[in-house]
């Protein structure tokens, strides 16, 4: 199987029974990944999935690849070590909004600024699933959960803004109701050299059902999702009657009829300045308003593991390969006879 250049979906399915709740959005994300991989030129033995703890973080068990279900919040750190150790590996990090934005927020932003080669899939269900329903750093203010019976009082993160604030080189958003879109975004993320951050709106039908349905349900999508496509004006709506313009106040939604097509912002994911991408990320503060999806940013910057490896090569070229005896004798020595 693994010697052939091509794989089938079946090759990526491990023998472990999938144990998410029936109806959980995690299933469709898993399917999207398992359907995509056969389309890429990758081998299961070179693929490593690393996760922290949470429902989402069970992901690696279901993949017939190498994997580690590590500890809560630390997946980006473990994955960094793997990416540094072996450039031939395809390292994917999977985790929930609690795992990667609450306890693990720091490792996430540092992996992003370092631009270390890995695909990071953030399953954002705006809730703690595995611990049975507490609010998360992406839950909306006022959220009533087990730990906030009178409503939460803290303002949530906008994960796309946070990633851009950390100067991530690849930043995208997709959702669990659109397999094709997920596959396309994952494909793009995989092709990126560096840290590719993908936020996936994921429905937890047990503890936060319908959190995204206002924007992701079939009937609402065209009016509530704003697809970002490189080189194209940003438009949406049933008849593409809405669009986005950038002004002195930020990005805002307009009727195309009011401003004219030419005034629309033309999306440039390769803009080295993340300012516009950041503005786009602020179009929606919560999944109850028209929300951009797609690739916000995709730029090139030296990759950390490669740069580190490069220093090793340079050192060898400069100093020759390591010679232990020479090292031991590198400080002043004397002989006793």
């Amino acid at each position: 199987m693994t010697d052939q250049a091509t794989t089938t979906r079946q090759d990526w399915i491990s023998d472990q029974e999938v144990r998410w709740c029936p109806g959980c959005g995690d299933y469709s994300i898993l399917a999207a990944v398992q359907l995509l991989l056969p389309e890429l030129d990758v081998k299961p033995e070179n693929m490593v999935f690393i996760s922290g703890i949470g429902c989402a973080a069970r992901f690696p068990y279901y993949m017939e690849t190498y994997g580690m279900h590590s500890i809560h919040g630390r997946a980006p750190a473990v994955a960094s070590g793997i990416a540094m150790a072996n450039p031939d590996l395809d390292v994917w990090v999977v985790g929930g909004d609690g795992d990667m934005l609450s306890i693990g927020g720091n490792h996430l932003i540092h992996a992003l600024r370092r631009n270390i080669n890995m695909v990071i899939l953030l399953f954002n269900n705006q809730i703690y699933g595995l611990t049975k329903g507490q609010y998360s750093p992406t839950s909306e203010v006022g959220k009533v959960t087990k730990s906030t019976p009178f409503g939460s009082v803290d303002h949530p993160f906008n994960p796309i803004s946070l990633a851009l604030g950390a100067d991530a080189t690849f930043v995208a958003r997709t959702h669990d109701m659109d397999r094709k879109h997920m596959m396309e975004i994952f494909r793009r993320a995989h092709s990126h050299t560096g840290a590719a951050f993908v936020e996936i709106y994921q429905n937890c039908n047990v503890f936060n059902d319908g959190a995204f349905s206002e924007i992701t349900s079939k009937q609402n999508r065209s009016s509530m999702l704003i697809p970002l496509e490189h080189g194209k004006p940003v438009r949406f709506g049933d008849k593409l009657e809405k669009g986005v313009v950038i002004g002195d106040e930020g990005a805002r939604i307009v009727d195309v009829a009011d401003v004219g097509e030419d005034a629309l912002h033309v999306h440039d994911e390769g803009n080295t300045n993340p300012g516009i991408a950041f503005m786009l990320s602020r179009l929606a503060d919560s999944p109850h308003e028209p929300t951009p999806i797609g690739v916000f940013r995709h730029v090139h910057r030296p990759e950390y593991a490669e740069a580190a490896r490069h220093q090793l090569v340079e050192a060898q070229e400069r100093q020759g390969p390591g010679d232990l005896q020479a090292l031991l004798h590198s400080r002043p020595t004397w002989e006793v006879t």
Partner: protein, 621 residues
Amino acid sequence: MPDTVLRPPREIERVIIRFAGDSGDGMQLTGDRFTSASALFGNDVVTLPEYPAEIRAPAGSLAGVSAFQVQISEQPISTPGDAPNVLVAMNPAALRVNIEALERGGVIIVNVDSFEDRNLEKAGYDDNPLEDNSLDGYVVYEVPMSSLTRKACGQLGVKPRDAERSKNFFALGLISWMYTRPIDPTLDFINDRFEGNERVIEANTAAFRAGYNFGVTTELFEYKYTVKPAELPAGTYTNITGNTALAWGIVAAGVQAGLPVLLGSYPITPASDILHELSRHKNFGIRTMQAEDEIAGIGAALGASFAGQLGFTTTSGPGLALKSEAMGLAVSVELPLVIIDIQRGGPSTGLPTKTEAADLLMAMYGRHGESPVPVVAAHSPSHCFWATIEAARIALKYRTPVLLLSDGYLANGTEPWRLPTATELPDISVAFTTSPNHTDDDGNDTFWPYKRDHNLARPWAIPGTPGLMHRVGGLEKEDGTGNVSYDSQNHEHMVRTRAAKIAGIAADIAEIEVEGDVDADLLVLGWGSTLGAIATAVDRALDDGRRVARAHVDHINPFPRNLGDLLSRYEKILVPEMNLGQLSKLVRAEFLVDAQSLTKVSGQPFTALEIEEAIEEVLGD
């Protein structure tokens, strides 16, 4: 430089000198140079540097005093000595902070220029101690080091302020004369170190010569001394700190394992120097990652181990506390990993620049659940090298995180080290698993990540290996398959198996040996950096006709297999420790022997005298 002191140098067996001054005065450099020159001359040397905690405390303040103690000897020694015989004090604060340590009747050499009102006040002296007879019990030499240095350098056109910076070399020159040290190594050093900066080379050289000549020409000093070369085992020697030895041990472990090394670390005193040293040796294929915190450091190291490299992480107490949870993961996924803790004064931020050995019980038990890890302790600066290789050997062979303990005293202290040859280093390589290791019920070959070898170690199959894809994690795993399992009996089995694996290492480590009077009633049992002081104390007690034996544990988990037996042979057991009795707790619990603690938690290593006195007390008379 002809010597005008007519008397030939007096031969002495050993001398303990402490250089003390303001942090800006370069005392570490001075001490280090004197040590190197003595080592090159063939003496046995052991050092004890002491830094202030502040980067730069106010000049002249008590907090800003930096000191460096060195013992040089014609006999093999293992401590920097108890009370210094000679104190070089560059300013009043240095005198004040260090006078208490000096032996009664010892020699004090002061930079008398610095004993002016402002400095006296900063040091909290109401009266000038040089004038109020408070130093009557000592032999005091007042040397105008600043002005003489300024003068020597002034001739070269160096500005007085700049010249003053060279006064440590004046002191070094003077002491070098006093103890008949060779001068060439120091002159060479100055040329090397300050290469490209001619001005500084000239000034330091001039100051050094001026100091030397001051000894030669003035009649201030009655004698000069000499300490003959020590009779050390033949070989090539270098003078090494524990942290350098440890860093080289990491390099050597990688070489001897045939694996690339990844160090994931976050800076912290007194461990940072290991990161610094290793980051210079990239040509060995060593990756050093300065992580965002200690958890990321161990996380990255564990990731590298999963990917088939040799993962290390270095830290000190506060960082080790943070790594607890991730160490538990390493125990659960059973991958090789070496965690290195350079202990310092605690609790909390504590005394970052002082030594202590109070992390032992945390090393043993600082993880939730039953989470056993082997614990190895280094006992001298050069032993840091060997202990690191040993820790890596165990980690690799048994696929387990291993905790290696060193401390601030070992980290910064030095001793001469006979360099090992290539053949003296053990082969610690292990094989990756590259093919299925199990046949399932249907007769298919398959890979079981938790099928153990006879050492109870699980296979190490790394990403990139076709056909052996598998997942590991922190949830309990089914024996053999490694699948997640919530089964009661399986958990019981796995907990006990992990414990048995670590306990079983006892069969694979050296037995502990007794030194001294094997048939004595009293055994002094030590671990870690107390070795030097214990050995010296026991030797002295033996010299005094006392019946006493000693033994030192380098493996604390598991203990050497003969330790219980050994302990049962002695009526009394004394355990000196730089904590409140942690090893003592372990041996009492394990062997039910009435081990008595001798504890010290002052941020300072034991002196041999303290241990000698305790021995006397236990033995009575």
